[in-house]
Point group: C2
Chain length 246, copies 2
């Protein structure tokens, strides 16, 4: 992007796959919003809403097992299903159980925890989902930095639901004249959200991951993850652990 931006304006870039992150990550003094709507980032927001104290995102199942061996609650998902030997995957409903309140959890997922790892050198990494859309937008406006909306995608592919959420953030932030530096991917994502916003589930009816989850009988998860603004907090990466400010 070579849009002429003055120093009072902030860029919003949408990175549609973790593979493209190095192409967009030129200014480290930015906030990266990690997005994995179905279901890692929706589950993370839900966990904090239900009193989980911290979440340690790790890349591999082996790392998750090591934490599990120390007695920590451990969650692992691959290709939409809970990994053998773990009690929890990335269904948001798993994180609503009262016994998780006040606990730390280690988490590894197919796409989301990989994206968090890509982003870790940014000055801030936060977790976004439709559930905390307004909270994310308010946070980004308050912080007033360049923003990269990092879609986790599906195994490095473009993915419709993550791009739609990125578009939702752009759609709201572009009303603020400071966030005027829209990249082409931001324009596209915002336009898609504008078309989809009346009925996100209907818009996604032919999308690949929605249908993958539907085949696994996870319609309830899909409907839950597509609700806007039912959670008001913003999970932030502090060291190797996701936390919320209290």
């Amino acid at each position: 992007m070579e849009t002429i931006i003055n120093e009072n304006q902030r860029r919003i870039e949408v990175c549609v796959s973790p593979n493209l992150f190095p192409v967009y990550f030129k200014n480290k003094d930015c906030i990266v919003v990690v997005i994995d709507i179905f279901r890692a980032t929706s589950a993370i927001c839900t966990a904090f809403e239900n009193g989980v104290k911290g979440i340690i995102p790790v890349l591999t199942i082996e790392e998750a097992r090591k934490y599990q061996d120390t007695g920590m609650l451990a969650a692992a998902e691959r290709s939409g299903e809970i990994v053998e030997g773990f009690d929890i995957g990335n269904s948001p409903f798993s994180y609503m159980k009262p016994e998780m309140k006040g606990k730390e959890v280690v988490l590894t997922t197919t796409n989301g925890t990989k994206a968090i790892n890509y982003a870790k050198d940014a000055s801030e990494v936060v977790i976004g989902s439709f559930l905390n859309l307004k909270a994310i937008c308010d946070y980004l406006e308050k912080k007033d930095k360049d923003v990269i909306l990092l879609c986790s995608g599906w195994k490095d592919r473009f993915n419709l639901e993550d791009t739609l959420f990125a578009g939702a953030v752009v759609y709201h932030l572009k009303k603020n004249e400071r966030f005027i530096g829209l990249s082409d991917s931001s324009i596209a994502a915002s336009c898609l959200y504008d078309q989809a916003k009346g009925d996100l589930n209907e818009f996604l009816k032919n999308s690949s991951h929605r249908n993958r989850l539907a085949r696994l009988n996870l319609e309830k998860d899909i409907e839950y993850c597509l609700q806007e603004n039912i959670i008001e907090l913003v999970p932030i990466l502090k060291g190797n652990t996701l936390k919320v400010e209290v």
Copy 2:
């Protein structure tokens, strides 16, 4: 993508950046349509329409110079401008000159020739632009193979005009029941084209490369490149040279 496809159905994938090509290029027995609307693939189509015999796409300015030293016509563009020492860049109007008729041309551009190089191991590589949109769609229907629509982007970023053209191809092919395997990126691109098709130039008014070209006084090129179906041929890569079937 894990959409269930039977053997009589063909996939259409949109790859929004050359960086993502390895992620989509799993079945080599496919046709890759290389897209660089502003302006390499529009210029290539125009060159053949005006009687150019062959175009050798090369990656570097040095390679183009070597061909030039043998007396061949040579074209080189970087960041929208003709490279010093070359007579031609990638403005389609440069390729309408009568003296180019029957000639071979070597060509290197910022994004387009790089994308052609990425695609070269596919069973077929063809060149698409709005100018030959219908010809490309007819060709793909006739060939009946899986299709990857490869957007050249801008320096590996997502780019609006290339994605719109990819969307135009999906928009037309999806009416054919054999092309039912739409990836998420195909759904998104088709949806964007559907919104933009009434006035492509208006839709692109805030896009980065359109504005980059406008600053270089290339409005005439932009308008030319956004015309649909004024050229009926399909340039195809044969060995290291683009040609059209006669």
